[in-house]
């Protein structure tokens, strides 16, 4: 019997030694490359006709583009527009990693905290640097809550600073935990179906129940995959908004 968390094991597919760096190409890395390739190929082939009246595939690609463009515009304003390519790439990468992970026998890169935290910490550092370059030292006024009583200010500044450093953690943990929990749950129900069926006799019919549950859960997981990609991206836009327009 396989353990439900066995699906998350990292397997080294081949090891490279480039200029003294030990580079191991794992199944996680493979699906990251796949996510990039599939999303790029999708956009390339969908937009190739470049018709004025879009077909279905082109319509889908344009919808994705407009969805993210609208998200950047409404959350970060016009000043957020230069960062649209980054946000769009981020959205597509997370979306396709999540969705590719739902294909049986594939691997979900976003179920690894290393991957999500690496993305989150780069967003966090980038956004902080944008704020520092744009506002200089005035950026630090961000940590002083407006309209607070003077006695409370040192205390509140401490809390604000901590809650600022919480951002990359909560951003990465949310995506990672959702993917991890969802995939574990699917595997637990799958294992349950096999266990009930292996009891034999009347119990084989009983294994239909967990199988039905899996169908429902898979639908839910597709929703979670899209929703978490959306949440990850919209939070990036909100952080960007804070950096561009200090209150």
């Amino acid at each position: 019997m396989h353990s439900p968390v066995e699906q998350f094991t990292i397997k080294v597919l081949f090891a490279l030694n480039l200029f003294g760096f030990d580079i191991q190409f794992t199944n996680s890395a493979l699906f990251m490359v796949l996510a990039v390739c599939v999303s790029s190929a999708f956009l390339y082939f969908a937009m190739r006709p470049a018709a004025i009246i879009p077909g279905r595939l082109q319509g889908l690609a344009e919808m994705l583009y407009e969805f993210v463009a609208d998200m950047v515009q409404s959350n970060a304003g016009n000043e957020g527009r230069p960062y649209f390519p980054f946000v769009f790439t981020l959205f597509l990468f997370v979306l396709f990693s999540n969705l590719l992970g739902l294909i049986p026998y594939s691997y979900t890169t976003t179920s690894q905290i290393v991957v999500t935290f690496a993305m989150a910490i780069f967003i966090f550092l980038g956004v902080t640097l944008i704020a520092l370059f744009k506002h200089g030292l005035h950026f630090f006024s961000f940590f002083v809550p407006a309209g607070a009583p003077k006695i409370l200010i040192p205390f509140l500044v401490l809390i604000e600073v901590i809650s600022y450093f919480v951002r990359p953690v909560s951003l990465s943990v949310r995506l990672f935990a959702n993917m991890l929990a969802g995939h574990t749950m699917l595997k637990v129900f799958g294992g349950l179906a096999v266990m009930i069926a292996s009891a034999g006799g009347v119990f084989v019919a009983g294994s239909i129940l967990p199988l039905v549950a899996i169908i429902g859960l898979t639908g839910l997981e597709i929703l979670v995959a899209v929703l978490q990609a959306y949440v990850f991206t919209i939070l990036t836009c909100m952080y960007l908004n804070d950096a561009l327009h200090l209150h």
């Binding site: 604000e160 943990v173 908004n241």
Partner: protein
Amino acid sequence: MDKSKPDRPTSKDSLSKRIQALESRQNKAKGPSPHAQLPTNGLALAGRVTTELLAGLIVGTGIGWALDQWLNTTPMMMVILFFLGAAAGMMNVWRALTGRGMAAGFFKESHHKPDKRGDDETK
């Protein structure tokens, strides 16, 4: 026939002027809202509250532990920052639930649109 409709401009010049006017109007209308909010769908909200609380504790305790290692004050900083981290986590939850976005500090209440729950109570 509707006669109040503005007559359609034929020259290219006035059309581009109209497009410019429309774009500037759209840009004005679509500024960032002061209370940008995540979807208030139950699942997303539950996940958000849990992670905010947990992340606050983890980061607070982590910073405290690092300070202890540096200043040799074990376990004072860790205990203090554990509570500060918890406070930061709760503050983030409060922000998420009241729709105050991510920005620090207090907003003037006039900016704050009453949410649906508030509307129901006044009925």
